[in-house]
Amino acid sequence: MQPSIEVRGLRKRYGRTVAVDRLTFAVKPGEVTGFVGPNGAGKSTTMRLILGLDTPDEGDALVDGVAYRSLRTPLVRVGALLDAAALHPGRRARDHLLWMAHSNGLSRRRVDEVLEQVGLASVAKRRAGGFSLGMRQRLGIAGALLGDPPVLMFDEPVNGLDPEGIVWIRGLLRSLATEGRVIFVSSHLMSELEDTADHLLVLGRGRLIADTSVEKLRTAASGDRVDVRTSRRTDAMTLLANAGATVAAIDHELLTVNGLSGERIAGLLTGAGVPFSELRQHRASLEEAYMELTRDAVEFNVPTVRDA
């Protein structure tokens, strides 16, 4: 059976707050699935529900087709990093992994292997209380990898990592996905996932806003816009607007044109003798697409600050 995470009609409320509202999705193996949404969107709650830590009010969450709580040695089925701070500061890094290994009957050798894998072998005997956030993240990831599980969940793993660490974790996630595992990674910043994720689940106020591949989302956001770079901005704008396009000036040399194909724009400009130095299909950033999607779903909306 292929490893999977499956969530059906999941709903959870804490007091009056609905944290997760009828959430349904499936996470497939072999690719990195990004779980994005603003802070408070319900990402961590969803992960806790999948891991059987919190009990849903409605719906269910299954890992490999079964409820997490029914797993006997869960560490070899699912690895999870929820909160890098969730360890006793007085315990050595190695002992933290050792008790986890013991609880599932895993060998001591695995502890040393994962410490090596996350680059903490040299500080294995230091107490976790003295670790930087980045080191704790690595320790948490080591814990997730302990049972070499086919399903991996990471909640905001990039938090606190230095640039080198960020590059490392991207590589790790990609290589784990290539091995055919389910990789489910949350972040509140789309940019963190931009180069890593293959598939995206976008969450806003507890609801699923988008369940799409990264490519599709980018295409949708880009639309059929064309960027034009020209030294005669005003002439170009008038010309293209008269031809029926919607034109927006990005800066004094760059225009974004909507409603005309690139070929037609090139023909019009050349015919009118308006020079241009660049003409290309507009490529929206995922961040843009994400902002677009979550505009209405941001939990704490700060009024936009305008430049004077």
């Binding site: 709580r69 929820l82 006793h88 007085g90 060998s107």
Partner: protein, 495 residues
């Protein structure tokens, strides 16, 4: 991809043990448990003293332990096998445990071997021997026929309401009784003890009682009995604490002139005062030697709570439950690991405290004969030493449960200490009944297991008055209930 994994309770125990031993602060706390317990025990032992041997109110019995042996004895010698029989016609109700009956005794020295068959005002027929054995016969009082028969080294008691149908009460081993022993009638009447508790003090007032009984049909049969031997009446007496104290003017009035016996037409009227039986001070050197465990209990209460609440502090519990989703088993593993650790360390603390504390207590006056040297091989002593370790273990488990219920370190530690330590102090200020119930209903009753001596209500410490097992049982119940509630809540709550 998957590693070889094993699922089992043993794995969980190993995981929880790893957690416990890998936090340095906890290891230090557990070491402190032993060191502080022993230290405070020795401190308390060195400060404890008694003058019981200087002012004895006992005689030394054949078993080497302090006994009471005082009564009126109307007797004649009997050599070899034989029996003494008499009917107790009347008995004054001077004390529930007053005795009127027949006796065979090694002379008239207080503290010597004896076997006695008696009727009592409230407790029916009793066969007692050598201050140790006390066997109940049938219920009921006078009139009653009583017979003691000696056959070699054993003595058998029979009783009858009509002198025709006899019931065997029992046979006692009387090895060490010389061939010629004194047989006859006796009357005893124990002193009245009034214990008053008020606002932190316990005062014990003791006053003698005097009882009279009449006998007829008195006969001594034996191979070498003359049948016409002269009856002799003696008061068997023992020292009293007051006798050796100066400035107590009225001690000579005790009992003295009011006891004795008369005989007219075969009817004996005997008046006696005093008690026959063990007379050990309720003060318990074993408990004194284990006093410092009180500190160990405070340490383990905090440890037990922290071992659990530290899981909740930083979301550790999520890591724990992700690794082991079966929450009840996690709690059980924690309880086993912590309980076993606490028991082992508690045992080290009690054994060391006992070994090192006893010589100090001995120097302070807790010495034979008033205080026979307690040995670990004696059951009540072993019970106290091992039971106290079990007390420590149960408090640890109780604290663990409370920690899981409240999920808050300071609150849980306060709650545990309030339930374990506070009642012990509150009880001191309460009247006897209130104090007794407080001990039966709170874990403070567990301190009763520290005692190697029988329960006594004559001491300031309220737990002394309840049975050791009753006390430990309360703690056990608290631990089980706390754990069950904790398990239920852990399963029900979101982690």
């Amino acid at each position: 991809m998957m590693s070889a994994a094993r699922d089992g309770f043993g794995q969980l125990l190993l995981a929880e043990w790893t957690k416990l031993r890998s936090v340095r602060r906890w290891v230090l706390a557990l070491a402190a448990l032993v060191v502080l317990s022993v230290g405070f025990s020795l401190f308390a032992s060195a400060g404890s003293g008694t003058d019981s041997n200087k002012h004895p109110d006992f005689v030394v019995g054949p078993n080497g332990r302090p006994v009471a042996d005082e009564f009126q004895f109307v007797h004649q010698p009997l050599t070899g096998d034989g029996s003494v029989v008499a009917r107790v016609v009347s008995q004054q109700n001077s004390h529930a445990w007053a005795g009127a009956g027949v006796m065979i005794k090694d002379g008239t020295r207080s503290g010597s071997r004896y076997a006695a068959l008696m009727v009592t005002p409230k407790h029916g027929v009793r066969l007692s021997a050598n201050y140790e054995v006390s066997r109940a016969g049938r219920a009921g009082g006078v009139p009653r026929w009583l017979r003691l028969t000696r056959t070699g080294n054993s003595v058998t008691g029979y009783e009858s309401t009509d002198g025709a149908t006899w019931h065997k009460v029992g046979t006692v081993d009387m090895r060490g009784l010389p061939p010629t022993a004194e047989v006859g009638l006796f009357v005893s009447s124990p002193p009245k003890v009034v214990v008053t508790r008020s606002a932190g003090t316990t005062s014990v007032a003791e006053g003698p009682t005097t009882g009279t009984a009449t006998f007829d049909s008195v006969r001594v049969d034996g191979a070498q009995a003359t049948g016409s031997a002269v009856w002799q009446s003696d008061r068997v007496t023992q020292p009293h604490a007051q006798d050796t104290l100066e400035g107590v003017p009225d001690f000579k009035r005790r009992g003295g002139p009011s006891t004795g016996s008369t005989e007219a037409n075969g009817v004996f009227t005997v008046t006696g005062s005093g008690e026959i039986g063990p007379r050990e001070s309720p003060d318990d050197p074993v408990q004194a030697a284990l006093f410092g465990i009180l500190i160990g209990l405070m340490v383990i209460a905090a440890m037990g709570v922290l071992y659990m609440t530290s899981e909740f502090k930083r979301g550790m519990i999520r890591t724990t439950f992700v690794a082991s989703p079966r929450r009840g088993r996690v709690l059980a593993a924690k309880a086993v690991v912590l309980g076993t650790t606490a028991f082992v360390l508690g045992l080290v603390a009690t054994v060391v405290s006992f070994r090192l504390g006893l010589p100090l207590l001995r120097d302070g006056g807790f010495a034979p004969p008033a205080y026979p040297t307690p040995k670990l091989t004696e059951w009540p002593v072993l019970r106290a030493v091992v039971g106290t370790a079990a007390f420590v273990a149960l408090i640890a488990v109780f604290a663990l449960g409370v920690g899981a219920i409240l999920r808050h370190s300071a609150g849980a530690i306060t709650a545990v200490l309030a339930l374990v330590i506070l009642p012990a102090f509150v009880a001191i200020a309460l009247p006897t009944t209130g104090a007794l119930w407080l001990m039966r209903l709170t874990p403070a009753g567990g301190f009763a297991i520290q005692r190697a001596k029988p329960p006594s209500n004559m001491l300031a410490e309220a737990w002394s008055a309840i049975d050791p097992w009753a006390g430990l049982g309360v703690v056990f119940a608290y631990a089980v209930v706390a754990l069950a509630l904790a398990a239920w809540l852990l399963r029900r709550r979101d982690a």
